[in-house]
Symmetry: D2
Subunit: 298 residues, 4 copies
């Protein structure tokens, strides 16, 4: 044994480790999809497991692999962060010969062109999340995830206000009753992640569309006076709890991905930065398509 | 010269340094005021300047001073973070004999009992900021600051919506016109800081009250249905831009502190986490009481 | 049905939700243990699940419960964050009658008196984590966790340097060989969490001691010249990968908690902010005491 | 007056505001320099001042300008974030006709190819900072800034350890004395910013080179065993306090920019995440080239 290779030494009282690797690696990545080049800055974590008999993981191999794969992605196009994650993950198992598990996580800022109610075009910011995991000998699983900011308007406060207004001035006219009722509204941050076998394709843009259409209203960087009024009215016509946001997303997922297998994992999280509180409201569902399809869930 | 005392060595090509010290020191602090003991966890930075002739500042003295002063604060009561900052600052100049400038910054979570519209009591969270600065030979200046979270409702979107509602259904009745009009509202974070000579007393609780009363509405941790409606209605009766929040605070400061000297520094910053955008709206005034009092400012 | 109670409405196409609640609630908490009063500021999240048939969770009950339990903790002493979490969790299930699962998470800054090598006393900062979870009808599980900052010195770079030094000046004397060899060292952040049934007591201070003694060296807020040399020498006499830190903790856990049941969950995470890289090194084990005790793990 | 234009309304008790605008705008930006296209994600704040007579600033114009300028930057190349900031700043004053001051701040991740001691190529991450400010009628000032991570090794602990080693084994041989002595080393984060008139060109890559060469050692994403030893030895041959880092940068700035005017502003900040403490060491100089050139500073 090479006495210098500290990591390969056998250990006396070793324990198996679940994940060993590097976190917080920052890299410029180019993904090519639908004729567009997306240049993003990815924040990357990679891990393998470590058997009880081996003293250390070869940490430098992790960043070597990331660097090579990202260089290669320029020559051999990759079409998504999750595809790139998959390539890195496969290479992790190849070069950490002692490992039986590999994992790659990436997060990046991302932009899509949006058109406001009155026709203005603007690049809106989102976050992409990608993960690839593999057990040696088994196939590779990949996770496609998005984080979307938008707006929720509270249905409960809306009803409480309506009740108080009616108490205050009994006998409100039909016209007065038809006007939108004030409520608290706020910035909401919703995450949708789906985990599928490697060969299955999930388009992150579709996930963004599903989330954005499930909020009280999407939001926009530029809003002139008329746009602004439209967004506010839209939000008040669709008052939603975080619970509603999560459930509406689940419903759309069931419909949009009816061809996918029961085993597909789905995670939805919605958090509203409540304007009337200093804390947030939160709802979450962690499930599979199979569970969602079971009649007793609905 | 003791050859080991690296910091005291003379330097060949030295430059004067503006601030040298330690940042991110975390300490439990007790301040006693109005019969209450406030136990807070302070995050502390301390600095002195360094002449061009001295190689290094004695970093360990900084934390020694903090530790001793905080221990002492239990025996000899301190009534505020800024008083404690002042004591630490004076000691910095005593023990860094080469320094001509000392600075201490503290930030801490803080709580005040609040009563909601329907009478519920709750401890609401705020942030305290304290700073003490001293030039050797001159007096000590202290800064008292607060950060308050609350709610703003946008007056501009409210008018745009009103206009669109009137276009949609012309001839709105008096009754319909009297109803509160929807708008976007959101969490707002406002900072107020005043810097005064050491002997002048500014009560942080007063600053919190000034900020909280200048928002569209204060917010509360617990709100039952009726409370919630009251806060929402209150906010829509007081629609405010961040500009309005800052100006209302400035007006109240002028009135509340009319006995203070023209030289007192005032900083107000208000940031609304716009529910209709993914970015924030921001307004700021950095000034003195003297400037504010000058007729051409108003 | 009261038409105003929006949350209680039945939903047409509902889905079960895994967790619904509030996040980011900040509260001052007092825990009393071993004759000491610890005043901490806790950051609190609480959740219950939501059946598919119910439109919304009663969010305001969550903060009500937190507030009442914390008020009560002053009268009826609680001895730890996890005990308080357990009380809140039990109450969550009581008042959310539709829920079958409750969860409470708390995080707080925490301080312990430490003595440096040369006898100085100082309050060192740590983080406490507590969690309580309960399924209706089953007992309550509680998690006791700590986050500790300390120092790791890399054994691999130490050997590489030794090799290069020997190549540079072959025939190093016994004396020269006996000197400590340079390597990169850095701030390390390690987390240890144990999850046990409610009646089992785990002392957070013990977990802190286990972590701190498993690093290359603990670190201290105040170090005079002699202290500083001692800490540096100590760290270089105990060079450790993050893998070593995790394994040493696992070994100590096995020994310290040999009376606890096989089912107890243990999570250890160690992250070194590598001084020679801009990214971190990371190791983790998620396991049970039973797995650790199984001979094939070692 | 259009009753709807809320912002343009005159205010009764107005105060002048120092800065009003939007913060946290995220945009993809392309800058072209030396034949390279740099695709970065910029986080942008823009502000103008507001006279006491005007109720509100036109917030939506700010994002409109950013969006148009960034679209235009694709057609008419911009060579740096600070050039783009300057263009946005000029436009701010054009479209906020009531404003007398404009300010634009941008921050972005950035990458440069680096070669490690043994010849490996890797993209290393840095941060770019840009600012443009203008008073109406005066020229435009721009700030070029960089944040660089690297490594510092402490000279003081090195000497303390040397002393203790000599006490422990008196009569150390010449050979033993020639070996590098252990000390604490850690990740360091250093910022260098220069503010110059618009027409003066400062290359951010030069500032990065100046900072990186002033640390105990630069750091790299990939380091194989030999590289790692070289970086560690390099750092221990260049032990530095944060004070030394700042002063070495100041010396290099004086030499590199001897043609620039005395009025140029220079800010240098260095922060070491001390491996032996849980807090950081910090040094800063805020100055002008003129002050630095004055003989009494050195």
């Amino acid at each position: 044994m090479n006495h210098l290779d500290v990591q390969n030494r056998r250990v006396e009282n070793g324990f198996r480790l679940t994940r060993v690797g590097v976190t917080g690696v920052r890299k410029p990545v180019v993904v090519q999809r639908n004729g567009r080049h997306n240049h993003v800055t990815a924040l990357i974590d990679v891990f393998v497991d470590l058997p009880s008999t081996q003293k250390g993981s070869h940490m430098s191999r992790n960043v070597e692999i990331i660097t090579e794969m990202i260089d290669e992605s320029v020559r051999e196009k990759v079409s998504s962060l999750e595809e790139l994650s998959g390539k890195v993950c496969r290479e992790l198992l190849d070069r950490h010969e002692y490992a039986s598990y590999g994992e790659v996580n990436m997060v990046a800022d991302y932009f899509l062109e949006r058109v406001t109610g009155t026709g203005r075009r603007i690049m809106e910011p989102y976050k992409l999340m990608a993960r690839a995991t593999a057990k040696r000998g088994n196939g590779l699983m990949k996770l496609v995830g998005v984080e979307v900011e938008g707006m929720t308007a509270c249905p409960c406060a809306m009803e409480s206000v309506r009740e108080q207004l009616e108490q205050r001035s009994p006998g409100l006219s039909e016209q007065a009753r038809s006007l939108p009722v004030i409520t608290h509204n706020q910035r909401n941050r919703t995450t949708l992640m789906m985990e599928v076998p490697e060969h299955v394709d999930i388009e992150a843009d579709d996930l963004i569309a599903i989330v954005e259409s499930s909020l009280s209203s999407p939001t926009y960087g530029i809003l002139k006076r008329d746009d602004e009024a439209k967004v506010v009215m839209n939000a008040h016509e669709n008052p939603k709890f975080v619970e509603d946001v999560v459930r509406d997303i689940l419903g759309k997922i069931l419909h949009r991905y009816e061809d996918l297998d029961d085993s597909v994992h789905v995670t939805v999280r919605s958090e509203s930065e409540e304007s009337i509180h200093k804390h947030n409201a939160f709802a979450e569902r962690i499930t599979t398509l199979g569970e969602l399809r079971a009649s007793d869930d609905q």
